[in-house]
């Protein structure tokens, strides 16, 4: 599941159960951290490369990467493969839509916190439309109506506030993260509509089921690309690290791009 958990999106669902495993393990990782040995500052090029890589805990990160890789190979991937065998792509799309919709209120809050009114409005409209017309989020009519999804999370909100990404972290269970993005875990743990409802056994069961289905559904989408990277990358760990960081940068750009304000009708426009 490892790399599959690379997207924040996955962390969000996994947080439910994984937090209890991840937090002490992270602490342990920090305490026991095998730190990479930086090259001498006098070796300018190598030192710059080391700084740019920003992965001082690389030895520890790689240990967790290998652990997650084993878990994935022997548990999650076979499970995902079985899931693919009994479902079709449209079904998996509907599951994806459903999970996305449940995450919409959290995105709304994050967009508000990061001062992105247009994105926040889109998120709100999406949640309202997809929860009703989209039958509880199974369908995504909002996108067709001109409200496409833009993803965000608390890590990206912190980035909007100017918090630097910090060193790269590879977490047990959750996968790629960073000193800033790891703060997602506690926030996302509470930022679901289920937390707002009165506690009940049925709700807890729903939460666990939703988490499980989401993880399997997501892993199923990654089967082919992950296999490909593992087969062709010289260093899959570094490849995933690079993709994770590029993906974050790209997402920040996407958030800004989608937040273009629309002038109201009464604004004077130049004659065409």
């Amino acid at each position: 599941m490892v790399r599959l958990i690379r997207m924040k999106d996955k962390m969000r669902r996994g947080a439910k159960k994984g937090l209890y495993i991840g937090a002490p393990a992270l602490l342990l990782a920090t305490l026991l951290a095998g730190c990479a040995t930086p090259p001498p500052v006098s070796d300018t090029a190598d030192y710059q490369a080391y700084e740019q890589q920003n992965d001082p805990l690389e030895p520890t990160n790689r240990v967790f990467y290998n652990v997650n890789d084993k878990i994935d190979r022997y548990a999650f991937k076979p499970l995902a493969q079985g899931y693919v065998d009994i479902t079709t792509q449209p079904i998996r799309n509907h599951v994806g839509n459903f999970v996305t919709n449940i995450g919409e209120p959290a995105r709304l809050l994050n967009f508000m916190a990061s001062g992105k009114p247009r994105d926040a409005g889109t998120s709100l409209v999406r949640f309202l439309i997809n929860s009703t017309v989209g039958i509880g989020g199974i369908f995504d009519p909002a996108t067709a109506l001109g409200y496409p999804e833009t993803d965000t999370d608390f890590g990206l909100t912190l980035a909007e506030w100017g918090v630097p990404a910090g060193p790269y972290l590879y977490l047990p269970i959750f996968g790629p993260s960073g000193a800033r993005d790891v703060l997602n875990l506690p926030v996302e743990f509470f930022a679901t509509p289920m937390e707002a409802a009165p506690a009940s056994a049925a709700l807890s069961d729903f939460g666990y089921a939703e988490t499980g289905v989401h993880l399997v559904n997501t892993r199923a989408e990654y089967i082919q690309p992950i296999d490909q990277i593992q087969a062709t990358a010289l260093d899959p760990y570094a490849t995933f690290r690079s993709l994770y960081r590029q993906s974050l940068d790209s997402q920040l750009q996407q958030i800004d791009k989608a937040d273009t304000p629309t002038p109201p009708d009464w604004v004077m426009r130049p004659a065409q």
């Binding site: 999804e149 062709t232 010289l234 490849t239 993709l243 996407q254």
Partner: protein
């Protein structure tokens, strides 16, 4: 979810024509010219992938096509990055040879997964020194993938220098991958060459 799709798309693009990178001395190509170049190249690619030829025949055809439409040497130099100055001329030559080989093996590896693909060119825009042509690639049973192809003029003709999927660049990803191998081995380019060699052996053996 969008992020997940981003990453998914990014990784899904690797198989398409993975591991191309940019040419330093390339020139910008007009958007319309880049579009028609990608339209033609994409059509050739789809024809080969969807043909009834054997995997090894397809691999040969794809290797030839890639040499025609991708600036493989420039890509290789970009991927090698600053280690281009560290590598000896002999190492550089060996690197480019291995890079060509690895590229064709990676494509061969992917052929089976991409039967029945279709290819749509959406538009083109200028990004920095490159002209990026946006396309959508659809294959049966898979979600459509939006792929951007960075095109530059190399040696007087347009060539592909990068594959971009939702903001993730394959030339950067590959450069980071290769750089990691070198830095983990004390800055030795020879370590990268060994890793590439064993990768080629592994894939061709599998």
């Amino acid at each position: 979810m969008q992020r997940r799709r981003y990453f998914l798309s990014a990784t899904a693009a690797l198989p398409m024509l993975g591991l191309f990178a940019g040419a330093a001395q390339a020139q910008a190509v007009a958007p319309d010219a880049a579009k028609s170049f990608i339209q033609q190249s994409g059509q050739q690619l789809v024809t080969i992938v969807n043909s009834s030829a054997s995997d090894s025949q397809k691999a040969d055809q794809l290797r030839q096509l890639v040499d025609q439409i991708v600036a493989v040497d420039q890509v290789g130099d970009y991927v090698l990055g600053r280690y281009l100055n560290v590598a000896t001329p002999a190492q550089h030559t060996r690197f480019l040879a291995a890079f060509h080989q690895l590229l064709s093996y990676n494509i061969t590896y992917q052929i089976k997964a991409y039967q029945g693909i279709t290819f749509t060119v959406n538009g083109a825009s200028t990004m920095g020194n490159d002209t990026v042509v946006d396309t959508t690639i659809t294959s049966p049973g898979k979600a459509p993938v939006d792929v951007g192809w960075a095109v530059d003029e190399v040696g007087g003709t347009p060539k592909i220098v990068d594959v971009i999927v939702a903001g993730t660049s394959l030339r950067i990803t590959t450069r980071n991958d290769y750089a990691s191998v070198i830095t983990d081995n004390g800055g030795q380019v020879s370590a990268l060459l060994s890793a590439m060699k064993s990768q080629i052996a592994k894939i061709s053996g599998g």
